[in-house]
C-alpha cells in the first residue's frame, strides 16, 4: 500500500464516510453512518452518491416493513484508496508532531536570530 492523498477522499465529510466504512464493518446502515459521522441526511446522501459514482462505495437498498433502509460498504478500490489516504495523513501527523517536538526542544534564547530557521523547516516539510 502506498501512502498518497486521494483528491476524492480529501474533503472532510468524504474522509469521514470512507474512514468509518474502512473501520472493519461489512456493511453500515445509513443512520449509523450519519450519526457516527455527525452529518445530516442530505450531506450523507450527496457525498455517498459521489463516492458511489467513483466506484469507492457500494450501496444496497432494502426495506424493513415500510421503512426504507440503505446500507453502505467500501469496494476493493475504495478500501485501497482510503488506506493510502489514511497512511498519507498519518505521515503528515507524524511529521507535524516531530516538528512540534523539535520546536519545543529548540528553546529560544534571548537574541537567537537563527531560531526560526532551525524550527520552521521540519514543520514545513523541507530539508
Amino acid at each position: 500500500m502506498t501512502a498518497k492523498p486521494d483528491p476524492l477522499i480529501h474533503p472532510i465529510t468524504r474522509l469521514s464516510i470512507c474512514g468509518l466504512l474502512a473501520a472493519g464493518a461489512d456493511w453500515v446502515e445509513f443512520a449509523a453512518l450519519r450519526d457516527a459521522a455527525g452529518i445530516s441526511d442530505s450531506v450523507l446522501s450527496k457525498q455517498s452518491r459521489v463516492l458511489e459514482d467513483a466506484g469507492y462505495v457500494e450501496v444496497r437498498k432494502g426495506a424493513v416493513g415500510r421503512r426504507p433502509r440503505t446500507w453502505f460498504r467500501l469496494t476493493a478500490a475504495g478500501r485501497q484508496a482510503v488506506q493510502g489516504h489514511l497512511a498519507w495523513l498519518a505521515q503528515l501527523e507524524e511529521a507535524v508532531s516531530t516538528g512540534t517536538r523539535d520546536a519545543q526542544q529548540a528553546t529560544p534564547l534571548p537574541g537567537d536570530r537563527d531560531q526560526p530557521r532551525r524550527v520552521l523547516p521540519p514543520l514545513l516539510g523541507s530539508s
Binding site: 477522499i9 480529501h10 474533503p11 472532510i12 465529510t13 474522509l15 469521514s16 474512514g19 468509518l20 474502512a22 473501520a23 472493519g24 464493518a25 461489512d26 456493511w27 453500515v28 446502515e29 445509513f30 443512520a31 449509523a32 453512518l33 450519526d35 457516527a36 459521522a37 455527525g38 424493513v64 446500507w71 478500501r79 488506506q83 489514511l86 495523513l89 498519518a90 503528515l92 501527523e93 507535524v96 508532531s97
Partner: protein, 157 residues
C-alpha cells in the same frame, strides 16, 4: 466544519467518529439470550442422537441452530445498523475469543458423547450447562474485541 481534511486533526476527528460507531455495536438484551439458545440446542444434539427414538434425527436440531443463528445475525444488524461477520476470525482483538468458542464447543460436545456412552447423562448435562455459560461469555468477549477493532480501525479486511 472544515471542508478539507488536509490537516492531521482530521485523523483525530476520524478516531472520535470510529469510537461513536463502535459504541453502537452493543448487542441488545435478547442477543446473549439468543446465543444461549443456540448453544443449548447445539449441546442437546448428543442427547437427541442417543435418547430420542431412531426415527428422530439430529439434523432438525442443527437446522434449528442454523435458523436461530441467522435470525440473531439479522437482528443484531438491524438493531445496531452495523453488519459484522462475528463468525469469522478476521478481527484481531476478537480472534482469541473466536478460537475459544470453537475449542469450547468441540470439547463440550466430545465430552458429552463420552459421558453419555459411559452412562453418565447427569454429568453430561452439567458439562453442557457449563459449556453454554462459557460460550455466551466467549461470544460477549468476541463482540468486545470487535468493538475495539472498529474503534481502532483494526478490523479492516
Amino acid at each position: 466544519m472544515r471542508e478539507v481534511a488536509g490537516d492531521p486533526a482530521a485523523l483525530e476527528q476520524l478516531r472520535a467518529q470510529r469510537s461513536r460507531l463502535a459504541d453502537r455495536m452493543r448487542p441488545p438484551w435478547w442477543y446473549p439470550a439468543g446465543i444461549a439458545i443456540v448453544w443449548v440446542l447445539t449441546f442437546a444434539a448428543p442427547f437427541s442422537s442417543r435418547y430420542l427414538p431412531q426415527g428422530v434425527r439430529t439434523w432438525p436440531i442443527l437446522l434449528a441452530v442454523l435458523v436461530v443463528a441467522c435470525l440473531l445475525h439479522w437482528g443484531l444488524a438491524r438493531a445496531t445498523g452495523i453488519v459484522v461477520n462475528a463468525g469469522s476470525l478476521r478481527y484481531p482483538s476478537g480472534r482469541p475469543a473466536g478460537i475459544a468458542i470453537i475449542v469450547v464447543g468441540a470439547a463440550a460436545i466430545g465430552t458429552e458423547f463420552f459421558l453419555i456412552r459411559r452412562g453418565l447423562p447427569e454429568a453430561a448435562i452439567v458439562v453442557a450447562a457449563l459449556g453454554v455459560v462459557a460460550e455466551v461469555a466467549c461470544q460477549q468477549a468476541q463482540l468486545r474485541g470487535i468493538r475495539q477493532d472498529l474503534r481502532g480501525g483494526g478490523g479492516a479486511a
